[in-house]
């Protein structure tokens, strides 16, 4: 309920912005252009998938004779020319029908599979992103405010370690020691809030590090600029200077990626979800590619590309909202 209200408010905000800054034409143009990109992406992936080895469509290829193989390929619709496969697929897509899974969970409708899996990944992802922002932004700001002081050193070590040790390794240790510490089982249970803690913490560590790193970088760049020196010599209080000048200006380039990362939480985290056996979207794409479940791959690629395109557009709009100097029309294509 709260999520729905928040989404409505957000949408209303964007619509107001589009109307106020007269960006309607720009948004329309970008959406139309994106449709062509989307069509191209889907077609390319569709064609690439048809080049996959035939053996991959069978569990027991060696035991089957030629007729059985042909019969299976016929039921999958793979024996027709590519164009005759592509056009019906696109027609169904226009009707909003994503089709049915062919091998992952044969016969189940894809939208049903995704509707079951996506919410868990979204909840986990949004929680970890919130945690990331909550700790990453103050850490980055503290690092930039006093270069070389304790927080700067602590943050640098943290960032370097998180980037250096493979996630696959430290996730496993968080699981091992964390479950011991909290005295809970290894696996995720939807109805037990305690089991949410470790996956969320694991997923947020990376984003804390990256938010802190980029904010520090942008703030240091900003502090060295002339207007900050002027403001300081004019005698503006350091607190106000940092908050309403330096921080606001350095947050703008970061804001661009927030809508996209928010939307990308749908994809889930492949390591975390397999470690705790969370029934989410993480690794679903890799899994269905490996099993050559073509309809699933096409549907997921389409959803993820839509997310990418919409996320980028929202990011640009958000950036324009925060920084009135940015004119999207002129900078179009520059991003």
């Amino acid at each position: 309920m709260i999520i729905k209200i928040a989404l409505c408010l957000l949408a209303a905000g964007f619509i107001y912005l589009i109307w106020k800054r007269r960006l309607g034409f720009y948004v329309l143009k970008r959406v139309l252009l994106s449709l062509f990109s989307l069509l191209a992406i889907i077609s390319v992936v569709f064609v690439l998938l048809r080049q996959m080895p035939i053996e991959g469509y069978f569990d027991n290829y060696d035991k089957l004779d030629e007729a059985q193989v042909q019969a299976k390929l016929h039921t999958l619709g793979l024996d027709r020319p590519i164009l005759q496969q592509l056009i019906p697929f696109l027609k169904n897509l226009l009707k909003g029908d994503l089709g049915q899974s062919s091998r992952y969970s044969a016969g189940t409708s894809i939208s049903q599979i995704i509707a079951e899996k996506a919410p868990i990944s979204i909840y986990l992802g949004v929680a970890s992103m919130g945690l990331g922002l909550l700790f990453g932004i103050p850490l980055g700001a503290a690092m930039a405010l006093k270069k070389g002081a304790f927080w700067d050193r602590f943050g640098t070590v943290f960032i370097v370690l998180i980037n250096a040790v493979p996630a696959a390794v430290y996730y496993i240790f968080i699981q091992l020691y964390g479950t011991d510490l909290l005295r809970i089982g290894m696996l995720f249970k939807r109805n037990e809030p305690v089991t949410w803690i470790l996956p969320v913490i694991s997923m947020s560590l990376g984003s804390i590090a990256s938010y802190a790193m980029w904010l520090r970088r942008y703030m240091l760049d900003e502090i060295n600029k002339d207007y900050v020196k002027l403001a300081r010599s004019k005698g503006i209080s350091p607190y106000k200077l940092m908050l309403s000048h330096v921080f606001r200006n350095s947050f703008v380039p970061m804001v661009q990626y927030i809508p996209a990362s928010l939307l990308y939480t749908v994809c889930g985290s492949i390591y975390v979800e397999s470690l705790y056996s969370i029934p989410g979207m993480g690794g679903l794409l890799v899994d269905v590619i490996g099993r050559q479940d073509n309809p699933m791959v096409q549907a997921l690629v389409m959803i993820f590309s839509c997310i990418g395109i919409v996320g980028l557009l929202l990011g640009d709009l958000l950036m324009a909202m925060l920084d009135p100097r940015i004119s999207l029309e002129r900078r179009q294509g520059v991003r």
Binding site: L33, F36, S37, A40, I41, V44, V45, L48, L49, Q51, M52, P53, V160, L161, N163, A164, V165, P166, A168, V169, I172, F173, L176, N224, I270, Y271, G283, L285, V286, I289, G290, V297, V301, F304, S305, G308, I309, G333, V334, R335
Partner: protein
């Protein structure tokens, strides 16, 4: 107002007087002799960009440490196969007596189990021309057999059994029944359990399995009974070279696997990063500078970027023979995109600066502008990206192995070593199998990260002019 005025006047006068005093100093007005060399000096500064970049870089202590660490790791990685006593990374090592694989041996720096002091009588068996499998186990007595206890020691009893004299552990496991007066020896004993008779009062077996000894060090007396002169080393494996990092679950030497894997991963990292830089920079400059290409390349980027890398990797490994070069090719196919996008964004920022406009007005060819005006400006950021691209490629190899389309186990790489190690992480005694490759990978990544950042800082003229 007037008061302030007079005060000011007073101050001015004081300054004037001081000034006059200084000026009357003749030394200030001495003529300098004519010096042609100092005339040449004007307008010349011995500033060189790379010189001062390197100077600023070498002053950074963290960067130097990282450079040394990385240098040592690289050097050792490539020297390791040339060192004496290295093992083949793919050879499975078996126990020569039992034929069982030497699975999950813990890491150790030495193969010496113990060094003998006295003339211990040994039971030995030739393994090959250089090694004997030895133990001081002389007999095994099945249960309910009578033997005579001739002496009681602290944890041992000396026994006589069918003409053999030897020592038996007197502990919880053997459960020798004690007589009422244990010191009234000799004493006939009956054991309900299997009892092992050792030639002296020490257990010279490795948890019941054989130890190994160089055959040259074993002596035989006139009855052909083998004994070891003092100073003989008994080893846990028939080799003087230890399994420094232990062995994995099928008895392969983890030490040589880790270094061989580091070589593979570094090679993948370097080559992929090289391709990434070459293709990425070229496409990026064209994309950013040539306006007609902007729309085409942006759309192309959007399309290729949205095709899952997994599909490309699987397709490439299906079409080509799986192996290191195929993996490099498949990774290079998509990784240049990020670099190109990055370079393009940087170029867009600087392409219309005044100095470039001036160059263009003077009729400089676009190629020259790209190579001479734009590229040098980007050296520092490109170096940073390059330094991060190598560990990035190594890291993505770990991910590719994780999703099951990486290199096979016959080609060790940090990726498949880490994934093998992950499977044994729940058992604390086997965690070393994950630890060693992870530590090497982290060392390499941290070094590249620090070096790249320091170099980018040093290459920024703001920081050293």
């Amino acid at each position: 107002m007037s008061i302030f005025g007079t005060k000011k006047l007073k101050a001015e006068k004081a300054v004037e007087n001081a000034f006059k005093e200084r000026i009357s100093d003749d030394r200030l007005f001495e003529f300098a002799p004519y010096d042609p060399a100092s005339g040449e000096r004007t307008g010349y500064s011995n500033y060189s960009y790379w010189g001062s970049t390197l100077k600023a870089f070498f002053k950074n202590r963290a960067a130097m440490t990282a450079l040394i660490v990385l240098g040592l790791v690289l050097l050792f990685t490539f020297l390791q196969p040339l060192l004496p006593g290295q093992r083949d990374a793919n050879r499975v090592y078996n126990d020569p007596v039992t034929g069982i694989q030497l699975q999950n041996l813990s890491p150790s720096l030495s193969t010496v189990f113990t060094t003998l002091e006295s003339k211990t009588i040994l039971n030995c068996q030739a393994v090959d021309e250089n090694w004997f499998a030895v133990s001081n186990l002389v007999a095994t007595i099945k249960k309910r057999d009578d033997f005579t206890v001739t002496a009681y020691l602290d944890d041992w009893v000396k026994i006589e059994y069918k003409g053999i004299s030897g020592y038996v552990k007197n502990n919880f496991q053997t459960k020798l029944k004690l007589p009422d007066d244990p010191y009234a020896v000799p004493y006939e004993s009956r054991s309900n359990f299997t009892v092992q008779v050792y030639s002296n009062n020490a257990d010279l077996t490795n948890n019941g399995s054989w130890l190994y000894c160089e055959s040259a060090k074993i002596r035989f007396d006139e009855n052909a009974i083998a004994y070891a002169p003092s100073g003989t080393e008994l080893r846990t494996v028939p080799s003087a070279h230890p399994f420094v990092f232990g062995t994995n679950n099928i008895g392969q030497d983890l030490w040589s696997r880790v270094w061989s894997g580091t070589r593979t991963s570094l090679w993948i990292g370097f080559v992929v990063a090289l391709f990434e830089a070459l293709i990425g920079i070229m496409v990026g400059i064209l994309w950013g500078y040539v306006r007609q290409l902007d729309h085409v390349l942006t759309e192309l980027y959007n399309i290729i970027d949205n095709i899952p890398t997994t599909i490309i990797l699987i397709l490439v490994s299906y079409i080509m023979k799986p192996g290191v070069s195929t993996l490099i090719f498949a990774m290079s196919l998509t990784r240049w995109l990020g670099m190109a996008r990055f370079v393009r964004n940087q170029i867009v920022i600087i392409r219309d600066r005044d100095y470039n406009l001036a160059s263009r007005c003077l009729g400089t060819s676009p190629v020259r502008i790209m190579v001479k005006n734009l590229l040098p400006y980007l050296v520092s950021v490109i170096m940073l990206r390059m330094a991060l691209a190598i560990p990035g490629a190594i890291g993505s190899e770990v991910f590719i192995t994780y999703i099951g389309i990486g290199l096979s186990k016959e080609t060790p790489s940090l990726g498949n070593l880490i994934n093998e190690g992950r499977q044994y992480v729940t058992s604390a005694s086997l965690r070393y199998q994950l630890l060693f490759p992870t530590v090497i990978l982290s060392l390499i990544t941290i070094s590249f990260y620090i070096i790249g950042n320091s170099f980018a800082d040093a290459a920024d003229p703001k920081n050293h002019v």
